[in-house]
Point group: C3
Chain length 212, copies 3
Amino acid sequence: MENRMSAPLWLTWLDLFGTVVFAITGVLAADGKHLDMFGVIVLAFVTAVGGGTIRDCVMGLTPVFWVTDAHYLVLTLVAALVTFFFARIADIPRRMLMVADAVGLAVFAVVGAQKAISMDVAAPVVVFMGVMTAVVGGMIRDLLVGEIPLVLRREIYATAAMAGALVHMSLYGLTGRFELSALVAILVAFSLRMAAMVTNTSLPTFRRRRPR
Amino acid sequence: MENRMSAPLWLTWLDLFGTVVFAITGVLAADGKHLDMFGVIVLAFVTAVGGGTIRDCVMGLTPVFWVTDAHYLVLTLVAALVTFFFARIADIPRRMLMVADAVGLAVFAVVGAQKAISMDVAAPVVVFMGVMTAVVGGMIRDLLVGEIPLVLRREIYATAAMAGALVHMSLYGLTGRFELSALVAILVAFSLRMAAMVTNTSLPTFRRRRPR
Amino acid sequence: MENRMSAPLWLTWLDLFGTVVFAITGVLAADGKHLDMFGVIVLAFVTAVGGGTIRDCVMGLTPVFWVTDAHYLVLTLVAALVTFFFARIADIPRRMLMVADAVGLAVFAVVGAQKAISMDVAAPVVVFMGVMTAVVGGMIRDLLVGEIPLVLRREIYATAAMAGALVHMSLYGLTGRFELSALVAILVAFSLRMAAMVTNTSLPTFRRRRPR
């Protein structure tokens, strides 16, 4: 939540938490890719703020959030460095990280949707901005390490972000109560993501009928 | 053509047609890449609006066109979903798609050039914006599925877009008649692309002299 | 240096020199990738102006520099074409190119930092903008030809840019003398990069402790 004045404190904290978690997943994506410390920091950065950056650029909200509020930059840097050195000496449990990542996903979807709502754009654009904020960072991260973005083929991931953005937009439109809507939406997106992970559910994949 | 008021109706329709065609090529690029439904929608979206988005961002025309006019988003989504399911049951003739793609290419080049003209930029920038609008979406699509962008090595493709932008800029500058210039330019770009496809003509490729 | 009025002439020349050098490295990256002439021009362009473009977009400095000043576009185009044909008949010494690239790196870092300073952003953002201007173009170039960006794993490269941005910001803040600060900063960044190349020094690479 870039506009810290208007957001409730718990959402600000969750947003910073999401930023840190995404930065950590960026560092860990460097595994086995022979990246140096700088490369790892770049990965952390694009993962943590990539989605929000493109969101702000296409909506004309410039300078983008991390230019006006240097906390995001500094926090990402610290998280990346700590992870860089910590990962050498200790094992970071994958399961814990996946849960934290689901929190980040849910929060970013709501933050992105709310930014779009405050710009007074059409409903499909609001949902789209929520999803973009949540998933684009991870997509660029995967591109940079030479992988087809996981989010394009992973079990319910962007779909959870979409649900979160949709719920927040609807509830906020109906009730006008920001805190309540954001909380419910985050819980919905988080639960959906967790459920998909636990049950290993995926969307159908693309199959093309072969030409004769 | 984002500014629907000033554009002739036929150009608006062609622009929407180009958007749909590009979305379809995005979906089909997912073939064999194990993408899920969401991934396919992302590919459709970046292909259809990627070029125009970067064009608007670098020229400062924000919020970009699909934020202010949600039709593009919805249209792309519908085209992607229809293609996703249709491609499972029927074969989409490659030849037909290539012709439709050539129409999209030609229209996007003119639309991009016109936007730049209305911003009063220098002539090389106008041509560049036409090309960018026409080819960048396809480039990002190819990156996302792990390929070196086809447009970087394919027979006369960007060159056709360049010709279209050049013709439109020149004619419009000379005559001041938008409709006429756009129509001629689209025909030139389309014909050039078709001719290149039929005759399989390419630009020279890069060869480097080996160091001793 | 986009704002040519306020920059000393030597810095403007160095900036154009950096643009040309980066364009050349873009062309040479096409080696062995079966790109056509257009693809090579695209690579030259993204390498030469990619970093500055994203910098201007995220800071809201739009239209970005090469839209308002077409010299960058034309210069890149000429450099790309000359290199394209020259590389067929003559060998371009790799060593000479590496030195020229180090000049470009140093200049772009200072130019980027100065732009951020003129926007009155926080110190970490200034340094970040310097690094981004210097390295992002090369990163996109590598992505487009299907490589994990070299800058993410190469010996001290971005680190030299960071040093340059840091020195310029500090000196300029202390003395208020732009020319002096820029000159010293460029020398520092250039020397650091040269030293790293000659001694083959790298930052530590990422290693993850294996889960049991």
